[in-house]
Assembly symmetry: C2
Homo-oligomer: 382 residues x 2
């Protein structure tokens, strides 16, 4: 039996019992008519969550990074340019994948912790005639939300397709694939969707599918070639690879829970718990890393106070309080904590628990803070 942890890091997020029970249902074959109906239901539910009518809206059989790779390698051909926004680990990862595909990345950078300036993106797109404009909506390494308004128009005006990484936003923040004009959007199951890691929901616009069907050469990855995968998920039902049956059960159940809650109430829940957390953090005399208007609700980055060894605090949170939070990556190592309030982990109880546990752990390290609990409570019971 594994130890019970409260998962308030950058993901995986806590998984509801309903979803865990679905995981352990007896297996159906991946071509069983009953499983094919489950696949149809998953596609329908994913369209609801992505807010899209795109036909090809499916889970890729890998984690969020497989979705990132699938989105880029299916659209890009050698020699293409791709403008990529970078302000954290996941933008960097996109550039690495673009390079491996033989395409030419054009990086548009912002400091880690800030969103990328639209005018810089505009300049890069106008100058490089890219096949793809790729950007991270919710940068898990920093806690920054990148606004998407205007990006699709910009991309389409220059003949590019817009790829959006919504790994840490889908199900917790509005993404609105059709309304935003996104061509390819992917996510991971283990963040705001409240499912274990292992699948990457992805959706392709008709424009993206036209591009894929008109490719001059085959997609470099056989496993992630959506022109083949779509035949299994579509009317043909042609065998491609064996679907991860149990993970698809779990995803269906997690998506059903989202539909029951409703997207809008779910976003509001993520927003409210984020506000409660921030109020508590500030009442404790701590500081958020990202400025107010660019903050993710799902991933809260907190500056580590001067003189505190952040790793020791995380060890105490885990060992004494059973709570997992994340540390900083790359240039932010040692400088921030990352507190995820995602999916079924985004609750008032968890906000209060993590605030109090953080206070106790800082006190143990010799830094006495006021409690953040009553400031947080004022958000819930104003």
């Amino acid at each position: 039996m594994t130890t019970n942890r409260l998962l308030l890091g950058p993901g995986p997020s806590p998984v509801d019992q309903r979803v865990l029970r679905a995981l352990s249902e007896p297996l159906l074959g991946h071509l069983d008519p009953e499983f094919l109906r489950i696949m149809d239901e998953i596609q329908e539910l994913l369209r609801y969550v992505f807010e899209t009518r795109n036909r090809l809206t499916i889970p890729i059989s890998g984690t969020g990074s497989a979705g990132m790779e699938a989105s880029l390698v299916n659209l890009l051909e050698p020699g293409d340019a791709a403008v990529v926004g970078i302000a954290g680990v996941f933008g960097e990862r996109m550039v690495d994948i673009v390079e491996r595909s033989g395409a030419k990345p054009v990086a548009v950078r912002a400091d880690w912790g800030r969103p990328i300036d639209l005018s810089l993106i505009e300049e890069a797109v106008a100058n490089s005639h890219p096949a793809v404009l790729a950007i991270v909506h919710a940068e898990t390494s920093t806690g920054v939300l990148q606004e998407l308004e205007g990006l699709a128009d910009l991309a389409h005006r220059h003949g590019a397709l817009l790829v959006v990484d919504a790994v840490t936003s889908l199900g917790g923040h509005p993404v609105g694939v059709d309304a935003m004009g996104i061509d390819v959007c992917y996510s991971g199951t283990q963040k705001c969707l409240g499912c274990p890691p292992g699948l990457s929901p992805i959706t392709f616009s008709d424009r993206a599918m036209e591009r894929i069907h008109a490719r001059k050469q085959k997609v470099q990855s056989w496993y992630l070639d959506v022109s083949m995968v779509e035949k299994y998920w579509g009317a043909d039902r042609t065998y491609h690879h064996t679907a991860p049956v149990s993970m698809n059960y779990a995803l269906r159940e997690a998506l059903r829970m989202i539909r029951e809650e409703g997207l809008e109430p779910r976003w509001k829940r993520h927003e409210r718990n984020h506000r409660g957390f921030v109020a508590g953090i500030e009442a404790m005399g701590l500081e958020m890393f990202v400025s107010r208007k660019n903050r993710l609700w799902s991933l809260n980055s907190v500056r580590v106070p001067e003189g505190i060894d952040e790793a020791r605090v995380r060890v105490r949170l885990l060992e004494r309080h059973g709570i997992e939070i994340g540390g900083g990556l790359g240039p932010l190592k040692g400088k921030i904590w990352r507190v995820g309030l995602m999916g079924s982990g985004s609750t008032r109880e968890n906000v209060l628990l993590v605030l109090e546990a953080l206070r106790e752990s800082l006190e143990f390290e010799g830094k006495v803070c006021p409690s953040g609990v009553s400031a947080a409570e004022r958000v819930y019971f104003p």
Copy 2:
């Protein structure tokens, strides 16, 4: 609640309750010390099952086809030659992946249903100076076991690495990675390992790792780049992608069950049930598709008798008897049934059940056969 099916097709195979329960354990973070210990145990257990001391012996975060792609794209660079044995769907798939990697496939073919001739492989290797010799040990599309003796010597003599697809043999047939001199061997969890689909166990010899570390250019796939993945599974514990936590729980439990049973008794069980099945099939007046000495124990292909619509029989097996078996693929469509006796599905009870259900379903189609049950029983109680 999903319908209970007896999965006797080409996979997924039936999954034991212990493994299903493990799937639904509460989640740990992918960098939690407790999860890192689970990863260590999985690597140790995989070494046992692969019969290897290879350091890099891990599950790839995708299905068996992801393992196939990982093995080829990590070893091959553009312009390399790769000799590939083809006698079924999975050999063809290897060629497709080799081409996508920019390498040059040299195909050595056999008729579907027969093993590939060693002398033809020898000729191809001697003529093409390949970087890789790749072969399918257990061809799931035909039910043929390809002998591995002599292949490693041949490959190594010519400076090539030996890649073996053991998707449908590992855990059901001896594979013996170190004894056979295999450089890269991969499998899938949903066949003889008795775990749901979603992971692909893979192992790399030191020779293979040297080749990978000396690559001139990056592996084309970021997700499957084992020079990065090994840092997460090794001492560094560097984050690469979020491990599919729940699937790893299930794999650990399935591997523990294999260690408890013992490899040798497990192979013997697969062999005995295969023999029981064949005895029954022949007593019914039906014919196996593959000649006696080349048959897989895990995947039994049976010729469809003249005048029988094989798909109707499969529908009746599924709907009336709750048993899934597979049909033929490609040139074998309509010509064979594929009956999997894999992992925890390989039991005397299942052999008797499927023989009797097949008899009833053929009778329903107007073909009256003798029962195969007593002939099968003579294998179990001679």
